[in-house]
C-alpha cells in the first residue's frame, strides 16, 4: 500500500463519484458541516466517519440488511478480543481503558472496507470517494490484517511462497470471505459470534474442494486424514509467531504504544484445543500469540489472573496454502518419530506450560509406512454391527477367538484402528 499525500487522501474525483448513486447525495447529508469557503468554518460540526453510525447514515431503505447485522459482526464488536481477555480472567475496569487505547483502533466501519483506507493507517479515499462494492485487498483488508495473514497470503515473508490461491488463481480475500461473512448474520447480541473460530468453519476448504474430502479422491493422505488433521496441517507452510507484547502510554507524547519482543517463523502442529463436531481435527497448526501474563501491567496489577486458562499457542489457519509442502511429501515425514514439526513440551516456555496443556503433543504419531497401512487386513463387514466400539477390548487379549494384535500396536488407541483397517465392503 503506497503512502498517500495528505491532499490525496481527501481528493474527491467528481468525474467518477458524482455519477454514482452516493454521488447524487449532497456531502452534508452524510458529513454535516457548514456551507462555507474557509476550511475551518466549513468543518464546524463535521462528521468525518459517517459509517461509524451505520443505522443513521447507511440504513433506511438502502442497506437495511447490512445495517441490521453489522453491529453484531466481529469487525464491529471485536468480541474476539474480549473473549480472549475474559478467558484469562480479565474483567477489570482498567482493561476497558486499555482496550480503548490499544484495541479499539481496529474497530472497523463500513467505510473502511468500502470507501477509504482504515483510520489506523491514516485513512485516504480509495477511488476519489467511489463506494467500492468489492473492498480493495491491499488498501482495506491487509492494511489491518498485514503482519500475519497479509504477509503470508501475499508471499512477503522472505523465502516463503505466497498462498497458491493468490499466486496461481489470483484470488483475493473476498473470493473466500464473502460479504455475508463480513457483515455477519446475527441480529442480536445473544447470537453474535464470540470469536473467529467459533461454530462452523467459514469459509471451509472442502466447499470448493469437494474432491479432497475423505472418500472424495484416491489420495491416501485425504483418505486417512480427512478429518483427523485440518487441511492446513498438510497444506500450509512456515508462518509468523510473536512473543512478549506489552502496551503502555508514552510519557513524552501521551500516545499509546506497544512493544513485542520477538517475531519469528514457525511451523508447528499441535493438538486442537477447540475440537468439536464442527472442527473434528485432532491436530491443527498452532501459532504463538504475543500475550503475556503482564502484558497490561501498565494499567494495573494482575489483570489476567487466570492466565493459564487459555493456550498461548492457538488454533490457526495460516494463509499460505501450497499443494506440495515439506510435511506432505510422504506419510513418513510425520510417522517416523521425528518431533521437529510437533509442538512438544520442550518447545514451550516453562512459564507457559500449564496454559498449553491442551495443545502440547505428548505422543508422536505411530511409526508406520504407507505400505503397512495399505496391507493391513480389512475388518469383517459384520463388525459394523458391533455393539462395542472398542477394538482393543477383543484384539489385545484375543477374546472370542479374535486375532491378537501385534505387540507394536500397544501405542494405538481405539480411534486409530480404522485408519488402517478398513471395513470390508
Amino acid at each position: 500500500m503506497a503512502p498517500l499525500e495528505p491532499w490525496e487522501k481527501v481528493l474527491v474525483d467528481a468525474g467518477k463519484f458524482l455519477p454514482t448513486d452516493h454521488g447524487q447525495i449532497a456531502c452534508m447529508e452524510c458529513h454535516n458541516g457548514v456551507q462555507a469557503s474557509e476550511k475551518e468554518a466549513a468543518h464546524v460540526g463535521l462528521i468525518a466517519s459517517p459509517s461509524s453510525e451505520p443505522e443513521k447514515y447507511c440504513g433506511g431503505e438502502c442497506h437495511s440488511e447490512q445495517v441490521a447485522t453489522y453491529p453484531f459482526a466481529l469487525h464491529s464488536t471485536q468480541q474476539g478480543y474480549w473473549t480472549a481477555l475474559e478467558a484469562r480472567g480479565g474483567s477489570h475496569p482498567a482493561l476497558d481503558e486499555m482496550f480503548g487505547n490499544h484495541c479499539a483502533t481496529c474497530h472497523t466501519t463500513c467505510g473502511e472496507c468500502h470507501v477509504s483506507q482504515p483510520k489506523n493507517v491514516g485513512g485516504g479515499l480509495f477511488t476519489g470517494h467511489v463506494f467500492e462494492t468489492t473492498p480493495p485487498m491491499t488498501r482495506s483488508c491487509t492494511a489491518c490484517h498485514g503482519s500475519r495473514v497479509g504477509n503470508e497470503f501475499l508471499g512477503k515473508n522472505e523465502g516463503i511462497p505466497g498462498d497458491v490461491h493468490f499466486r496461481e488463481a489470483r484470488m483475493n480475500c473476498v473470493k473466500c470471505h464473502e460479504g455475508e461473512d463480513m457483515h455477519g448474520t446475527a441480529t442480536d447480541a445473544m447470537t453474535a459470534e464470540v470469536n473467529r473460530f467459533a461454530g462452523t468453519e467459514s469459509p471451509k476448504c472442502v466447499d470448493c474442494h469437494e474432491e479432497a474430502a475423505p472418500n472424495g479422491d484416491n489420495n491416501p493422505m485425504h483418505q486417512v486424514h480427512g478429518d483427523t488433521l485440518s487441511c492446513q496441517v498438510c497444506h500450509s507452510v512456515t508462518y509468523t509467531s510473536c512473543d512478549g507484547c506489552h502496551v503502555a502510554v508514552s510519557e513524552t507524547s501521551g500516545n499509546p504504544f506497544f512493544e513485542t519482543d520477538a517475531t519469528y517463523q514457525t511451523f508447528l502442529i499441535g493438538r486442537n484445543p477447540i475440537q468439536s463436531e464442527e472442527r473434528p481435527y485432532a491436530f491443527v497448526p498452532v501459532r504463538h500469540t504475543p500475550v503475556t501474563a503482564d502484558a497490561y501491567e501498565y494499567y494495573g496489577e494482575n489483570l489476567l489472573p487466570n492466565f493459564n486458562a487459555a493456550p498461548t499457542w492457538v488454533y490457526s489457519t495460516p494463509h499460505n496454502i501450497q499443494k506440495n509442502t515439506a510435511q506432505n511429501i510422504s506419510c513418513e515425514t510425520c510417522h517416523n518419530g521425528d518431533a521437529s514439526i510437533f509442538l512438544t513440551a520442550d518447545k514451550v516456555r516453562p512459564e507457559e506450560m500449564e496454559a498449553n496443556l491442551s495443545v502440547i503433543v505428548e505422543s508422536l504419531p505411530p511409526m508406520l509406512t504407507l505400505e503397512q497401512t495399505l496391507n493391513a487386513p480389512t475388518t469383517p463387514a459384520s463388525h459394523l454391527e458391533h455393539a462395542s466400539n472398542s477394538c482393543t477390548a477383543c484384539h489385545t487379549k484375543g477374546i472370542r477367538n479374535a486375532p491378537v494384535s501385534p505387540e507394536d500396536h500397544v501405542i494405538y488407541k481405539d480411534r486409530n484402528c480404522s485408519g488402517c483397517h478398513k471395513l470390508q465392503k
Binding site: 499525500e5 495528505p6 491532499w7 487522501k9 481527501v10 481528493l11 474527491v12 474525483d13 467528481a14 458524482l18 447524487q24 447525495i25 449532497a26 456531502c27 452534508m28 447529508e29 452524510c30 454535516n32 456551507q35 462555507a36 469557503s37 476550511k39 475551518e40 466549513a42 468543518h43 464546524v44 460540526g45 463535521l46 462528521i47 468525518a48 443513521k56 447514515y57 433506511g60 438502502c62 483502533t105 483510520k119 489506523n120 493507517v121 491514516g122 485513512g123 491491499t138 491487509t142 492494511a143 498485514g146 503482519s147 504477509n151 509468523t240 510473536c242 507484547c245 508514552s250 507524547s253 500516545n255 499509546p256 504504544f257 506497544f258 512493544e259 513485542t260 519482543d261 520477538a262 517475531t263
Partner: protein, 77 residues
C-alpha cells in the same frame, strides 16, 4: 507490510482533527434524514464542500502537514 500503526494513526488523527479544529458536538437528532426522494445533485458551483475537495491545489494549501510523530511502538503489531 510493516505497519507503524500508531505513527500513522497520529498522522491520521491530525488529518481528521484538521477538519474539525473548532470542536463542536455533533448535533444528535437534528440532522434531517437522508433525502431519499428529492436527492440533491451536487455541483462544485453549488456545493462548497465539493468545490474544495475537487481542487487539488486548495487541498494542498489547506491540508495540515503530516507531523512526523516518531513511532514509539516496537515490533510487529
Amino acid at each position: 507490510m510493516k505497519l507503524k500503526p500508531i505513527g500513522l494513526l497520529i498522522a491520521g488523527a491530525c488529518l481528521i482533527a484538521a477538519c474539525a479544529t473548532v470542536k463542536v458536538e455533533s448535533p444528535t437528532g437534528t440532522e434531517p434524514p437522508l433525502a431519499t426522494e428529492a436527492v440533491l445533485a451536487s455541483t462544485p458551483e453549488a456545493d462548497k464542500c465539493l468545490a474544495c475537495h475537487t481542487d487539488k491545489q486548495r487541498l494542498i494549501d489547506t491540508a495540515k502537514p503530516v507531523e512526523l510523530a516518531e513511532a514509539e511502538s516496537k515490533g510487529v503489531g
